[in-house]
Amino acid sequence: MNPADLSIAEVGAKFRDGSLTSLALCQAAIERIRARDGAIHAFVEVDEEGAIAEAVAADRAFADGVDRGALQGVPIGVKDLVDVRGMRTRCGSGVPNGGPSADDAAVVARLREAGAVMVGKLATYEFALVGPSFDTPFAPVRNPWSLQHITGGSSSGPAAAVAGGMLRTAIATDTGGSIRSPSGYCGVVGLKPTNGRVPVAGVHPLSPSLDVVGPISASVAEAALTLDALVGTSAWGRPQAASQLGRPIEGLRIGYARAWFVADPSGDAAVIRAVDEMASQLSLLGARIEETAMPDYPLCEACGAVILHAEALLAHEAALRRHGERYGRLAWQSLASGLVLTPDDLSLAKRVAAALRDELDQGPLARFDALLTANTLSPAPPFSAFDGRNAVWTAMRTIAFNVTGHPALALPFDFKGALPLGAQLVGRAYDEATLCQIGDALERASAFAAAPKPRLEEAV
């Protein structure tokens, strides 16, 4: 088996019994990137030389008896919104953004402390806003399951790199669904941590009230291990996302927020069937499932949109004046639309966000250990649905949990034709461990994990 197809736990066992080296694994990953990424465009920069040097250092550390944990020697990529020392942070844009970063973002520093091997930077929608765009210096990322379909975004590169078998885990960001929607469209696992759980220093801001950093990975266990490395040991908490993996979910109470999405006219019947099937599977695994009411979704969406657009314009206004013509059309339109909002609107939206958080904490999340609901309401749309001139609405149920700050796990479960379908689990604040416990159990019981992966050799 190609080592690039082994899980983090599997390569970790092999590193430690001497049957595989980080160098061999990184060389396999680089070969995969060379063979596949010409068609997918997940990477905007690959640092082959640096990765090989870091892999050799990881092997040397193992030989010296230094073991920094699950990610030591594991290749990883980061969304090109995150600073990596010596590499440029382009944010998917042609807008001038300085030279190579002088320092690592806090999350990259933590990954280095954990011994991960930095392979390169991964594509993003321009400034994590909207896409796909056809007028930036970067080609749109293509969905490994079908190159004629989009990946979703804004973490298009991380999702496609993992779905395409080039990496097992990658670092992404999520302001309104940017980890979860591309994970849904690409059939991989996306874990949006509790807001504030992972430091955002060195990550280009979109909306500081909503921005979070988290993993996109090939499995729930790998997402949990990656999040634990990002959390590190700090004042914000100790690693715990992987602490409940493999434990039975019998007796856990899961609220099914079905009415929250089934009546949406944009919803695909196959998505509804898939989420119903996930609820049924959770019940078969011993969880207690009960339908639950939720805060009003249009209100959640309005609240998130006002916060996001007001804060994004504040972050970009000076650059829009200097370099407006260098922004891609969709990003410019999205940012400039925020001109209509006032400081009072932003203050009001933050008060409403607090009320929504209380409503969720004192309602469904007081009764249930976790919630199940939809993620994206359709499989990945085709590129032909996008003209690059106007943003296209793609329905999902993601931004509510940026607004309330609760952790959310996107995971695949089924297919419609060649395209993956999945759903979203939502947990109590700072309880990523229960989400990963449930997601891991569901993953083991689903046919998705065992299904054939994208047939990329033929596609390439």
């Binding site: 006002v306 209509v340 009001l348």
Partner: protein, 77 residues
């Protein structure tokens, strides 16, 4: 960001049609706002941004209605 939101005369969710007087007024209001903030763009970019601005103005109104209802129920001081 001190001005009141652009006022709307169409129902939320109603599409803006080419030649729509309300859409034209909305676009003109958006252009004035952009000019005051030193932002310029081609007419087609700004027209699309004006549509987004109108949606955001609706969103802000949704929040005001929610807070007014909470206040009426006595949920907030």
């Amino acid at each position: 960001m001190s001005e009141a939101p652009i006022s709307l005369t169409t129902a939320p969710g109603e599409p803006i049609r080419e030649g729509d007087a309300d859409a034209d007024a909305n676009h003109e209001a958006f252009l004035r706002r952009a000019a005051e903030r030193g932002l310029t763009a081609s007419p087609d970019r700004s027209a699309a941004a004006a549509v987004g601005a109108r949606w955001l103005a609706d969103a802000a109104q949704t929040l005001r209605d929610f807070e007014r209802a909470r206040a009426a129920r006595g949920d907030i001081a």
